[in-house]
Amino acid sequence: MVLVELAKILHVPVWALRGFLAPLVYPGLAVLLGTVLFLIWAERKMAARVQQRVGPYYVSPKLHGALQLIADGARFALQEIIVHIETDRLMFILGPILTFTFLTLPFTVLPGGPGIYGFRSDFSMVIVYALLTLSPITVILMGWASSNKFAMIGGGREALLTVSGEITLALAMLSVAAMYGTLDFVTAVEKQMHTGIIGLVSNPIAALLFFLAMLLLTDRVPFDIVLGEQEIVQGPYTEYSGVLYALTMAIDYVKLYALSLAFTLLFLGGWAPFTTPLLGAISVYIKSLIVMLFSVFLRAVYGRMKLDQAMNFFWARLFPLGFVALALGVFVHVIYA
């Protein structure tokens, strides 16, 4: 294996190299950055296609504007970070950085392919879930620290929606765990490869719940209530500028990437049908990219759902459906056994 040989050359233990490469290269930061840049470009291009226009173009006409995001990033990097006088300075500046850091942590344990992970744990699903649930807390703090009413309302909305979204997400994950009898992503993928039936087929309700919760937690249309541009400007991120604003913009995409990876692993068979690391990694990446592209494409179709309707949708419809998914998961587990 390449990894083992590389570890020999560098004179470091294999686990250390793994723990270093997974969060920083793939599926972690390096690939994440490229994915976010591509995803935002693709989102704008797809929406432009539906809306009879060209989309980003003039920054690099030969690449159809693919470098637009880099230009925007350079602009953000050079912009002054305005911290106005009423803010809670420390929390205001730490907010986006902490959130971003929390959101990159799941990549230590999310497998990006066969044998590609920071460390393997029997509770990797729980760990990913727990780490993802940390970010709303800092987002709420950002809303408070901004000392802006729009940001404050945005923080409140974040709190409200996170609760309803995460319950649904937890139920979907639980039903998958019950279905495969494991809390480990790798085992879940192996189970799917072993039975030859992907999770989307064996438990479609859980897949639907997971996907909808993902849309809610990552502020995608129609659930982009936290950002709510037409009411509350940019939600909790209203007061940010410069690099910090770029970070707040990235938060949702990073979350989307992590949850899409999880969706791929749990419902789309992970690296199936390949078993080698390279092909498996490509398989996982392409599958999760399709999930991401689909979820960003919805912006061209829907508007923003009303807050109370979204809450009602999640608590009155999806929450009971979660128990159905759980029962279905147990049922499938019995059949598999």
Partner: protein
Amino acid sequence: MIGRELGQRDGYRVVELYIGPQHPASGHMRLVVYLDGDIIVRVDPDIGYVHRTMEKLSEIREYVRVISLIERMTIIDSCNITLPFVEAVEKLLGIEAPPRAKYLRTILCEINRISSHLYGLGIGGIFLNHSTMFMWGFGDREVFVHLASLLTGARLTHTYNIFGGVRRDLPQGFKDEFLKAKRYMLRKLKDYDKMFFNNPVIRGRLENVGVLPKDKAIAYGITGPNLRASGVRYDARLLGYAAYSELDFEPVVGKYGDGLERVWVRLREIEMSLDLIEQALKQLPDGPIFHERYAKMVPPAMKKWFEKGRVKLPGGYVRLRPRKGEIFSRGEMGHGEVTYYLVSDGGMMPYRLRIVTPSARNAIMFSILPPGNTLMDLPAIYGSMDYFPPEADR
């Protein structure tokens, strides 16, 4: 920070939220919103940010120059807003436009109405974060802006209506272009229904939001599609100015007057306007497009332009002196009914020109509709109203 605002105000424990004038969805105005939790208890629309003293400026301009001034109030609907003024001055001058000119005015008015409605629908779409409706509305509006530019030579500020007629004749090939545009628009309207109007998320945002009952709509003097959505069959076009008395149409009237119905009225009015233009093009009479009293003042060397379908204004035209008197006129714009009250002292300039624009009359809806709804309903109500701040502020 919030605690400072959590005082008692009018007996309510409320947050005072200033939306605008620098806000993604405020327009050129400010909405002072008082929130009790997520429920709006009161909204004070703070208008006047784009007040350009139209009424006062028109007192120091000759009558002809007033036309191009007042059309800047609503450049997206510039034919409709100038027509009542032109007709008022014509009445004081004691002339009447030739029939062909009246039909041409009607055609341009309806083209403008469609583009105004598409603009409103687009803005309504982006207020609900439906970016596709926004882009479609603005993109398809371009079709009708193109039609208007074929007819008048200008995209927005046509200054097409002048005292005694219109400035250009119908160009060749206009009918074909219009029929093409009509086919396209009818096809797109089906898409609008699918993507926007029948979209479950959009319906959820607009249904039973900002309900304006019939009696309230009449009491507050609401006008235009917003009034018709509440079930009142009133349309200034029914009074039969321009060529409307000779055309066959029935105003689109709603029932409940919620946000959804206001959008529905606009969508159906686009169909109606397409139909009206087709009728007008069919019945278009032959003849002059400019009143002969002024046409014969034009020097012979300039007469050749009349054969080419263009009106050259005679030198004395700028010094028109309508007779002394007061006159009131009204017309239906895309946003609603515009009324002019013109006082002439027999001079070259209006003594006083009082303008009441539809948006100015509809601005009261900001105060009466949102209370009781949530903060998220505010953009939905704003979007469904088709409010145009520069027009309201004059």
